[in-house]
């Protein structure tokens, strides 16, 4: 091995060291750049002829691929939980601070408190005004909450629109970067492109949950968590979203475009075929999935709960309870009840026992005006012990009896005499006992000759239409919280809070009506359909309205807390993955500096070798 060989080796060492210093300087310079991954140079021995040298083969990005994939997944999870937590937290704020004057339960308590005072002195103008004021405030609060819920839904709708646009943009950008990577050699410039690609993918992962795969050429393919291919060298699908503005409570998502009141995400594949991404459940995590869930489920439930409060409160005050009169027909016994005055949406309940030893069960018949309104929507509720059945009243009383007979089946005999309905059990056979038959017609007039103490205290909308809970052309209950107002007749004539009968005229100081109102709101057990529980509770429950209000606020708070806890947990998971990722990918300036010193020393050593070789050559020349 000659001197020249040593010289060559030293020179290639100098070259390699220079590349190394270049990378170190790049690392140090980009220490603060977003998406920058630390690089290192790998050197190898090279043998050309008899010369052994050092060759800088490639610049490597130092990162853990597995951790990077986990990071993207956690990122979409975190986007999902934080979107939910933030939306629910704003909803929570709408319900007011605990115990404050704006809290829903406080406003409700104030209303019942005002009724309590009124029953002590029903003729007092100021107490009557207090009831009207507090009821107005309660109705307004329900309106406000309902509007707030719908605003949050609109925000979610808008969030989906923005996210869909962004996803399309990101997929477009990814196409360019991916093409460049495939066409470039594996050098430090390619590493930069890959940084950029990963940056795009990480942003994409916030909107959609993604999995990626990289082939030998460096080209990536992206699939969603649900298995839909998003990208394979170029976008496999493009998304579009028909954003609707001004969402109302009755605007719901439906797979049928004709029934849909909100936007849906359409996927168009390369061959131009389209499909509905929401129907196919393409989005399972990430911001888009969170917004879809908020818009179509969580906030719809929140609205349904408010509607239930409004509807139950309104019906509790307006619906009379007409108990059937006991009758016997031979061995069979049962009840007669007059169905006059039953409005669309009003109910007739049949309580019975399966004998021997069965528990009390109930049929609830709901008046509808045409067969088109049947069957009742799921929100009508009901369960195994309380079957809710719509009855078309358009065919007259005989047809009503026939429909009821068909609904209750054997063991009962249903008949009618004019508008009076009779249901008796099977007498001697003794398999059924009819316990009660009750009609619940809405009292439409606040005061009339021979009037009842129930009154239409709340009405539907500022027009003053009655609220009967009808199912004609959709449930009247849907969005009632947004429309509930106090009956303008009461605002105009406050004496109606006491006077329910014009002949014989009720005394102004008669506490019957205020007492009934208070009892109905705070004491009477009512059946809540509760198909809508934010806490997942779907069973029908019997409780007072006052308790239901508390339960709604409480389950709301609980849902918010759960969402926040989930978000906190997700942030912790994300944080730990981030720190694991950092361990390999982060630029550590100290490390770079020590590397620099090492390279410097190596450079000096190589230079020394060259100078030594030169001295030896000089000595040789002098000889």
């Amino acid at each position: 091995m000659g001197l020249s060989t040593s010289l060559n080796t030293a020179i290639s060492g100098l070259n390699a060291t220079q590349v190394g210093i270049g990378v170190v300087s790049q690392n140090v310079a980009n220490a603060g750049t977003t998406g920058y991954v630390r690089r290192a140079v790998s050197n190898a021995d090279s043998l050309s002829g008899l010369t052994v040298g050092v060759q800088s083969t490639q610049v490597q990005r130092l990162l853990d691929k597995i951790v990077q994939h986990q990071l993207w997944q956690e990122a979409s999870g975190a986007a999902y939980t934080s979107t939910r937590a933030s939306a629910l937290s704003s909803l929570d704020k709408l319900y007011g601070a605990p115990g404050s004057a704006t809290a829903l339960d406080t406003i409700f308590s104030k209303f019942t408190g005002a009724l309590q005072s009124l029953q002590n002195d029903p003729s007092s103008y100021s107490l009557r005004s207090q009831v009207i004021d507090n009821a107005t405030q309660l109705a307004r609060q329900l309106n406000t909450l309902s509007n707030g819920v719908q605003a949050l839904r609109a925000q979610a709708e808008n969030g989906i629109a923005t996210a869909v646009t962004k996803v399309n943009d990101l997929l477009g950008a990814l196409t360019k970067v991916n093409t460049q990577i495939v066409g470039s050699p594996n050098d430090s410039a390619t590493a930069g492109l890959k940084d950029q690609r990963d940056l795009i993918l990480s942003e994409l992962s916030q909107y959609v949950d993604i999995k990626t795969m990289e082939d030998a050429r460096g080209s990536v393919s992206v699939v969603t968590g649900s298995g839909t291919q998003l990208f394979d060298g170029r976008p496999s699908v493009t998304f579009s979203f028909d954003e609707h503005s001004g969402l109302g409570p009755d605007d719901a998502w439906d797979s049928d475009p004709a029934k849909r009141g909100v936007g849906t995400i359409t996927m168009t594949n390369a061959s131009g075929g389209t499909s509905d991404a929401i129907v196919n459940r393409v989005f399972r995590s990430g911001e888009i999935a969170a917004n879809i869930e908020l818009r179509d489920k969580t906030l719809v439930q929140a609205q349904a709960q408010l509607d239930e409060i409004a509807a139950q409160m309104s019906k509790a005050l307006s619906d009379r309870e007409i108990q059937g009169t006991a009758v016997t027909a031979g061995a069979a016994s049962g009840f007669d009840v007059d169905l006059t005055g039953l409005q669309s949406g009003n109910t007739v309940t049949l309580d019975y026992k399966v004998t021997p030893g069965g528990q009390t069960q109930r049929f609830t018949f709901v008046r509808v005006e045409s067969a088109a309104s049947l069957p009742l929507p799921a929100s009508a509720g009901g369960d195994a012990n309380n079957r809710v059945i719509g009855i078309d009243f358009s065919g007259g009383p005989a047809s009503v009896a026939t429909q009821i007979q068909a609904a209750v089946g054997g063991g009962f005999t249903v008949s009618n005499a004019g508008s009076t309905l009779r249901i008796v059990d099977d007498g001697a056979a003794g398999t059924r006992d009819v316990i009660g038959l009750t009609a619940r017609p809405t009292n439409m007039a606040p005061s009339a000759a021979g009037g009842a103490p129930e009154l239409p205290f709340f009405v539907d909308g500022s027009g003053g239409g009655p609220f009967t809970g009808s199912y004609e052309g959709g449930s009247q209950t849907t969005g009632f919280a947004a429309r509930i107002t106090i009956n303008p007749l009461l605002v105009g004539d406050r004496s109606l809070l006491a006077v329910y009968n014009t002949s014989p005229a009720t005394a102004q100081g008669d506490a019957t009506r205020p007492k009934l109102m208070l009892d109905r709101l705070t004491q009477s057990q009512r059946s809540f359909t509760n198909a809508v529980g934010l806490d997942g509770n779907t069973a029908t429950s019997n409780t007072t309205i006052a308790n239901f209000v508390q339960r709604v606020v409480s389950s709301q708070g609980q849902a918010v807390e759960a969402a926040q806890r989930l978000d906190e947990g997700q942030q912790v998971a994300l944080g730990s993955i981030q720190s694991r990722f950092q361990q390999t990918a982060q630029v550590n300036v100290d490390q770079e500096m020590s590397m620099l010193i090492e390279l410097q020393t190596a450079y000096a050593a190589n230079a020394r070798i060259i100078s030594t070789v030169k001295e030896m050559m000089d000595v040789l020349m002098r000889v």
Partner: protein, 506 residues
Amino acid sequence: MTITAYGTGAYRAAKPNEFVSTRAQFDDLQRQLDTKQRSTSYGDLGIDRRVSLDLNAKVAQIDSWLGGIELSNVNLKLQTASVENFTKLTNETRNDTRSNSYVPSASGRSSPQVLAEEKFKQTLDLLNIAANGRYLFSGKTSDTQPTLGFDEIINGDGAGKAGLKQMIDERRQADLGAGLLGRLTAGGAGTTATVAEEVPAQPYGFKIAGISGSSAALATTFNPGPPADVSVNVASQPAVGDQVRLKLDLPDGTQEEIVLTARATGTTGSDTDSFEIGVDPNATAANLRNSISAALGKQAKTTLSAASSQVAAQDFFAGSLNNPPKRVPGPPFDTATLPPSNAGAAATTVIWYRGDDGPDPARGTTTVQVDQGQTVGTGARASEEAFRVGLAQFAIMAVENFPAGDPNSQTRYEAMTSRVSEKLGFGGSTQKPAEIITEFGSAQSALASAKERHQSTKDYLTTALAGVENVTTEEVATQILALQTQLQASYQVTSMLSKLSLTNYL
């Protein structure tokens, strides 16, 4: 809405993020220190939110009970004071009407009568008391003043509706009858003297309850009827001092006995209480007949007149909007045979009580709910029996007139005062003012005990609520201090670490 950056490059933000979240905790603690509230929403309150909701509802409920109690207490005190004053007034009049107190006067009205008029007016004022725009003695119609004014009650409205004065007058005519003997006829021939009720039987005037003679010379017969009649047969000449006793029932439920004593021939005496023994039984019987007519005539003008006033006043004050007072059918009244009725009376008679007159007890017309299951009745009606009796007696005193020249004045005055005095004693089953006061008193004590109970429950609940919703200054201060120390240490270490770089040593 902000989404924290989660990208691969976001790790650079990790440390500052920690600082930001610690800072946010710091701000929240500061808010807690300012407001003393643990959280601003039910979501942040944690598992205690159910307790907070429940306690808040309970406190609101108790507050409304306490409010009701407070208001009712004022009303009850005013009501009690009114009834106490009323009692005082009735006691005074009762003292004024002791027997043998008649003093003739030029105006025909004694001073107790003048005072009674003032007391009547005062009682009306007491019953018309209002608090917070609410009439306390008006039952359920607490927006209606319960009574009319004095003048309208006594003299009528001057537009076709009769007042008390007219009703008394009509009743008096009906009781007196056309023959001025209290709807009786006295007659007889030969040795008999007869007294008979008018035929057909009617409810006015005297009703014969019985007759007796003190000796066999004065044989009596009694046909109870109705219509009843009696006769005395002077079978032989009676001895001096023999008596005929005729018992008469008056419309107001009292009974009078006419005692006619035989006096010796040639003596003089009042025909109203004695008869002269004549030359033979026929003459004696003629004298007896005279005497009976005179005695009946006097009773009809005195005791019967007082009884008529009582009955008329009682009927008048029993009237209410749904049950107008009963009136004697007429005119003519002196020959009326049908019993008093209230048919059509609403249009022709002043109804003094304008409030509600339902069948429920007066206390139940206004109730205060003091607890979940406890309601206390605090209502009252001006038409309660005690007030009606008092008002009727004051009114009778006020409207009667006793001219000094009338020989019957004293007897009539005594007949009136004895009845007034007896009625104002609220004897027997009559409702006494003291009963009303007692009922108000027990209502007040029920309110007081409920108030005390609620107050202590509320104190406890408020404390419990504070434990859930509020924070103590010490607790927050400690947390702030801990957080401050932690944050400071964290800042310092971060700053030290950032200075500690190899770059400095190259």
